[in-house]
């Protein structure tokens, strides 16, 4: 597992970077989504990957059970997934509106037209 996750992060980052250099709006967005997921995996792996007990806090002092997995990294990645989901939806809506009003989905051409 210690090799698989970093390798996955690397592959996702690389393919995302490749995609955001394309011209088509949708490909660029797919690239952003891949990179976002790579970052989420990176955050997720920051607490270390191992088999552990569920992190349920008990008692008045919120003591963690021994050998529990780290709940903070999971909470962080949950938040990050929600944020990237919302931003992806916003970006898709914006991309649709953009290519509708320009009649084109090539980012370079859109740039030229917007300057005019």
């Amino acid at each position: 597992m210690t090799i698989v996750l970093p390798a996955l992060v690397l592959v996702l980052f690389a393919s995302g970077l490749f995609l955001i250099q394309r011209h088509t709006v949708v490909k660029v967005l797919f690239g952003i989504v891949l990179i976002g997921n790579a970052a989420n995996l990176l955050v997720f792996s920051s607490a270390g990957m191992r088999l552990a007990a569920p992190p349920i806090l008990e008692g008045k002092d919120y003591a963690m059970p021994p050998g529990a997995s780290d709940p903070v990294a999971q909470a962080l990645v949950l938040t990050a997934i929600v944020i990237s989901f919302a931003l992806t939806v916003l970006a898709l809506a914006l991309a649709r509106r953009l290519s509708q009003s320009m009649g084109d989905d090539d980012l370079d051409k859109i740039d030229e037209e917007a300057e005019l």
Binding site: G36, S46, T79, L94, A114
Partner: protein
């Protein structure tokens, strides 16, 4: 009073929801929007007064222990910036309401503006790295909507570019958060500052480098500022004024806090990069501003140039100067944007014309750092800090860019004088009044600076640079 730091976030969010719920067909929410701004201004001024009196207030939501809670920390510096930002944004709301077309107001400008206000306050007051990230994202999401509000082709194209580059920056910031948690086992900026000496290795450089790239994009550092002129020129000037007072400033303050948390006060490569990149930004921005004819685009480049000065100050590790510069720029640049919003429609009354023109001139002098404006005080403190840090080249770069900015602004002054003669739409009294008030605030910042600056040096140096 531990709930006080939450109010600047909760009040505008509640206001945004209230406006969204009470929307009927054709609602413009003019009054509600401005009342929302005033409410936020009141609450955040109250917070600042309390913090200035009692010292830092920490709030842990739900009273959970520290790593598991949403953590707010109102220091005198952050609370002061929230209060000032709140008044500037309220002024921008007034200008936007007076100058914006009805369809844009009907599409929910005011409730989105409240979200920007809430999220920016959250980002300034947040005490931990991940909450900072979340508030930042929320602020950016709302500002994408503001940039594209109205959906003209230019707005959509520049908004999409802004969105893409901000998403990339956010990914870097998120990676920095993840690595910081993996390295320190903690996201609390104060805690990380305590831990920094007990860890050695590549961690701080990795985290700091990622955070630097992310926040450099968001605070418009050269050469990553290409998004800024488009994003601040395409939407109506009221929206540009609002955004100019918020997003880049919040990014610069975050950069200051992250840098001081990660690295020892002895300095190092991270701070050196900021000094030189900041100096390049301030020169490049001012030169670009001179080369460009469009007044609003010129202001956008000047904004980037001003941010360069802040970045140099962060690199010089002078927290009080950074806060002073951010505060001064927030007001002065907003004043310029307000005056430009009034351009082309300076109507009948000579008093109104005088207020707009005078406001522009005073704020232009402030941006160039000429007494008796707040710009002089900020630049003076900056030069002092730069010479203390024995970095005369960076100081020279900033002073040169001040001269170039003055030249660019006086040129703009001449060209706008012609533009205001071919006026079309009428202008009420509100925008000139706001211009005059902003100019008065800038002047007051220059004239009454003594006690404010000494107070700032005492509190900020201690609070931010733990």
């Amino acid at each position: 009073m531990t709930w006080l730091p939450v109010l600047p976030v909760v009040v505008p969010l509640a206001m945004a929801v209230f406006m969204a719920l009470t929307t009927r067909f054709g609602s413009e929410h003019r009054v509600k929007g401005i009342i929302g701004g005033l409410l936020h201004a009141t609450v955040s001024t109250l917070l600042f007064a309390t913090v200035a009196h009692q010292g830092t207030i920490e709030t842990r939501l739900g009273s959970f222990p520290r790593p598991f809670t949403i953590f707010f920390e109102a220091t005198p510096a952050s609370a002061g910036l929230v209060a000032l930002m709140s008044w500037v944004v309220t002024a921008a709301l007034v200008v936007a309401t007076a100058t914006m077309d009805r369809p844009r107001l009907r599409r929910g400008f005011h409730s989105i503006a409240q979200v920007v206000l809430a999220a920016a306050s959250g980002a300034l007051l947040s005490g931990d790295l991940f909450n900072l990230f979340v508030w930042f994202e929320l602020m950016l999401t709302a500002s994408f909507v503001l940039v594209t509000l109205g959906s003209t082709p230019a707005q959509l194209a520049s908004g999409f570019k802004y969105l893409l580059i901000s998403l990339m920056a956010s990914v870097f910031f998120l990676c920095a958060c993840g690595l910081a948690y993996g390295w320190y086992g903690n996201l609390d900026l104060a805690k990380i500052a305590e831990l920094q000496s007990s860890f050695s290795g590549p961690g701080p450089n990795m985290i700091g480098g990622l955070a630097l790239v992310a926040l450099a994009i968001k605070s418009a550092m050269f050469p990553m500022y290409a998004w800024l002129p488009d994003a601040y020129t395409a939407p109506p000037p009221g929206i540009a004024a609002l955004l100019a007072a918020v997003s880049t400033k919040v990014a610069a303050f975050a950069l200051l806090r992250i840098g001081t948390a990660l690295f020892p006060p002895a300095g190092g490569l991270w701070f050196d990069i900021l000094v030189w990149a900041g100096a390049a930004t301030t020169i490049a921005g001012a030169l670009a501003a001179i080369a460009i004819n469009d007044v609003r685009r010129r202001l956008a480049f000047l904004l980037a140039s001003q941010m360069g000065t802040v970045l140099v100050a962060i690199g010089l590790q002078s927290a009080s100067v950074v806060v002073l510069l951010i505060a001064h720029e927030m007001v002065a640049m907003a004043g310029l944007f307000f005056a430009v919003a009034a351009l082309g429609r300076t109507g009948s009354s000579p008093v109104a014309r005088l207020a707009v023109g005078g406001g522009f001139l005073v704020c232009a002098l402030a941006v160039a750092g000429i007494p008796p404006t707040s710009g002089f005080v900020a630049k003076f403190a900056f030069v002092q800090a730069g010479l203390l840090a024995e970095n005369p080249l960076a100081v020279g770069a900033v002073l040169l860019s001040s001269l170039l900015s003055l030249f660019a602004l006086l040129q703009a002054w001449q060209s706008t004088a012609h533009e205001s003669e071919k006026s079309g739409a009428k202008l009420g009294w509100t925008v000139p009044a706001v211009c005059a008030a902003t100019a008065a605030l800038t002047l007051a910042g220059g004239l009454l600076a003594g006690p404010a600056v000494s107070g700032l040096k005492e509190t900020v140096q201690g609070e931010v640079l733990r």
